[in-house]
Symmetry: C2
């Protein structure tokens, strides 16, 4: 099927995707995940058609029940006849390069519903990583006409934080009864959480966790009139509290006070991405101008052997470069 | 104390650090974490003096008891009169920029022992992040003469994986009785684990976890004669199994079959770092050659507003660049 990778083929694929064709969407995502030139062109072709979906990020440690929460929200959105996209960022794949849990056992009750599009992302499948591939995939699902997109991720690493920062509303899920390390994560996560969920809130310790969260929230200075992240209690497996969570997300989305913060997040993310693309371009130019690929192995061996430091090596290369710019 | 930042001041600080002076070490680390020119020079000055410590990475999800395991290992190494360094990468700080748990409540019984140097790292304190700052800090502790360095991290994100890949031996800690998400992480972590620990192995479900780990390990193809990661059971709070863990680490370290893999990890890490340094240099050159800083805001706004795609914007900038290289 090399045809789809030609310029005309990509145009045709784009048109089908914009018309909401699920197979075209899946195909386009595979191209983007592949990381090659066709994926890049696909992202470029669809970029200005995305940006209208409402994106909810759901993050939390393993075991917090994020998949079940996402499943519950998807069900409510479907009842309102909204087209839903789900992107599950799967840390299981961090080392193996494949989504082990995968789409199959996730959200099985939605698999026969064409109004729900589900995709698992593996962490390491792509140069530039998750932080590049996930927003590109979200954009494709958006351009294909899904009004609600749910991103599920484990909010620990830098990449995951960058991914979740692309969301319009960030939900941080917690569960009662875990140890001290968890308390530590909680303490730090305040800055990114728009809404807190205490899932498995029928378990012992839910009241204490609720109290702790309120205390933590009190530590942060809230300028007068700023959004104060609500705490929603759920039992995702029975559906308890999911309607309240949906309502809290609506409130956060509709509240005009939250717009500047969201725009600042977006601006930061796109500035970073633009810089990365320029870096990649400059690197390609350097490789064209200099037989660096051949030298790299020897230089890296000198560094790894502690004979030269990486700064000196980088400087010795940069000293050979002349860079000029026109208007 | 601007004096220490002058060239002579840094030389003097380096000499004290190489002589094993703990205060000089703490000072040098602060400079490196600060991310400025003095930190860069400090890294450069000490680089060829590092590389002789044996570095153990301990990773696992929150609640796996990593701190207690690290504490137990540090105690054993101290009994053998080895100087120990501990670097705790603290995910609590991912959002807040400060180590909330911090050095104070970590490993309290070692605080009066000058043979143990403990440092917590916050994820976001530094441009380039954890993946750059942590190895630099480990190198400083190494150059100051600590023979054993323990890095504790939550092994989920890309940054954390890059950090842990710098270690000579990677220990992955698990606990029985957690949910499905955890199983998923386990499944993916096989490629990086040199040794598995089942901590809290007196808890229910330890046998099942042990069996599952053996099964998973069986799924990976082990070329004949390759190291097969052992599974060590511990109860870190009572010290049970810590001696066995220490012995497993020794075995992994001493086994000549493991050298190629370790060297390949190191080579990859340094190649990545060298590329980053060159990228930074090229970016600075670009900013000198072009009034890009002034243009960036407008360009980013066009991208965030979906009026232009980031690839086209990057291309329009790169088209204005001429890059030449000499010998």
């Amino acid at each position: 099927m090399g045809g789809a990778r030609s310029k005309d083929g990509l145009e045709a694929l784009k048109e089908r995707l914009l018309a909401g064709d699920t197979r075209a969407l899946a195909r386009a995502i595979s191209l983007v995940e592949g990381g090659g030139e066709a994926g890049r062109q696909m992202t470029q072709l669809t970029f200005t058609h995305a940006g209208s979906a409402f994106v909810v990020g759901v993050t939390g440690i393993p075991g917090a029940g994020k998949s079940t929460l996402v499943d519950g929200l998807a069900t409510l959105y479907r009842k309102a006849d909204e087209r839903v996209g789900v992107v599950a960022v799967d840390p299981s794949s961090a080392f193996s390069g494949g989504a082990l849990l995968g789409d199959r056992i996730r959200m099985q009750r939605h698999t026969s519903d064409p109004g729900v599009f589900i995709r698992s992302m593996a962490t390491r499948q792509h140069l530039g990583g998750l932080a590049v591939a996930t927003p590109a995939v979200v954009d494709l699902i958006d351009a294909a006409g899904h009004q609600r997109i749910l991103i599920e991720t484990v909010g620990v690493g830098q990449d995951e934080i960058e991914v979740i920062e692309m969301a319009d509303t960030v939900v941080v899920a917690m569960v009662p009864g875990l140890g001290d390390d968890v308390q530590a994560i909680k303490a730090g996560i305040l800055e990114v959480a728009d809404i807190f969920v205490i899932n498995k809130s029928d378990h012992e310790g839910a009241d204490r966790l609720h109290q702790e969260l309120e205390n933590l929230r009190g530590l942060v200075e809230h300028p007068k009139g700023e959004w104060v992240s609500p705490i929603v209690r759920t039992v995702a497996t029975t559906g308890e509290g999911i309607e309240e969570l949906r309502a809290a997300i609506e409130q956060h989305a509709a509240d005009p006070r939250n717009r500047p913060r969201r725009q600042e997040r977006l601006r930061r993310a796109w500035a970073r991405r633009l810089r990365e693309l320029i870096d990649e371009g400059l690197w390609s130019r350097l490789l064209e101008a200099m037989p660096l690929a051949q030298e790299m192995d020897g230089l890296v061996a000198e560094i790894a052997g502690r004979r030269r430091d990486p700064f000196s090596v980088a400087e010795s290369i940069l000293r050979r470069v002349r860079l000029k710019a026109g208007k």
